[in-house]
């Protein structure tokens, strides 16, 4: 029963953080807020892209410059040239496997 209640509590708090902005931000946004939010995707994409390839997981995180980072750079190059997300994934994965096989 305690597990069920915990899961329910998790569901409620997660729903809250997802819903609060859309419940409270009604009508026209102030210009400054619109600008601010407009840059959020670039900032969030950067964070989500960089963390897994440049910082090790686990209890004592440290910078790492290995196959994941190189694969990310290859993917970034392909993204710059093609603007295609699928090509980016394919090139990055291919680079990762190539590096893993060669090293």
């Amino acid at each position: 029963m305690m597990i069920w209640l915990t899961i329910l509590g998790m569901a409620v708090v997660t729903l809250l953080v997802r819903e609060i902005p859309l419940l409270t931000m009604r009508g026209e946004l102030p210009i400054w807020l619109g600008r601010w939010l407009g840059y959020v995707p670039v900032a969030v994409f950067t964070a989500l892209a960089l963390r897994p390839i440049a910082v090790s997981a686990g209890d004592a995180p440290h910078l790492m410059a290995g196959a994941p980072l190189l694969a990310g750079l290859v993917g970034g190059l392909v993204a710059w040239r093609t603007g295609n997300t699928l090509a980016t994934i394919a090139a990055g994965m291919a680079a990762y496997w190539a590096i893993r096989m060669l090293s």
Partner: protein
């Protein structure tokens, strides 16, 4: 989803839902193995099959589900599990806020429905289209249910198979997510202000990932780097 109000110049609503659903499919490769692993580790932590599936259905946030399973396994107090979930998922405040300007014309229930299934991945796919002027609530909905679909299927697969599968990280499948975000980010970097924002975000991400616990680095980089971009733009216009 009768409340969805979208602009009429775009393709039909069903076609947009389908397009969003399909655009998410490459990310299934990254998500599915972790859904299976989540389920296997949840069962190992002592959750029943029903509880394991219910958490995916109701919480639907991978990082916090993995964290919670670890805490269940360590017999943590329920309150600490819930509070930790709140902290791990706090970044959704930012994602939802970022989407809200694009969803103003949607009805209340459509907006609430979209937000309820928001994930990092479906946010990224949906907001990319909004940034390009082609986005719609229907497209975002398609991306959301695509992720929901694969997460539930893989959770169920993990419960039913119940055996320990090879670590997806051993095949580099965990790289699908960062590569996706790179594919979405890099084309946005042709503009000088975006380059500055990404640079600041990169520095904050590394510092935050090294010094802050959990996923705070996303909130830190997301809030501060975007504020820097907005301030620079204001100064440029003054």
């Amino acid at each position: 989803m009768a409340e969805l109000q979208i602009s009429t110049h775009a393709p039909g609503r069903a076609a947009q839902v389908r397009a969003g659903f399909v655009a998410m499919m490459p990310l299934w490769l990254g998500a599915a193995p972790f859904g299976v692993i989540y389920a296997v580790s949840a069962l190992a932590a002592g959750l029943s099959p029903a509880q394991t599936v219910a958490m995916s259905l109701l919480v639907f946030a991978g990082a916090s589900q993995f964290t919670a399973v670890g805490m269940f396994a360590a017999a943590a107090a329920p309150v600490t599990i819930v509070v930790t979930t709140l902290i791990v998922n706090a970044r959704h405040l930012l994602l939802a806020a970022s989407l809200s300007p694009y969803l103003r014309r949607s009805g209340l229930w459509a907006r609430l429905g979209l937000a309820a299934q928001l994930t990092d991945e479906s946010y990224a796919i949906g907001v990319r289209e909004f940034l390009g002027g082609r986005g719609s609530a229907a497209y975002q909905f398609g991306a959301n249910i695509s992720m929901y679909f694969v997460w539930q299927c893989s959770t169920l697969a993990g419960v039913l198979l119940g055996r320990v599968l090879p670590d997806p990280a051993a095949y580099g499948l965990d790289l699908v997510f960062p590569l996706t975000f790179i594919g979405l980010l890099v084309p946005l970097l042709r503009k000088r202000d975006s380059q500055v924002v990404a640079g600041v975000a990169a520095a904050l991400t590394l510092l935050g990932a090294l010094w802050l616990p959990g996923s705070w680095y996303i909130l830190l980089a997301g809030v501060v780097a975007s504020a820097v971009g907005a301030l620079l733009r204001r100064r440029g216009e003054a």
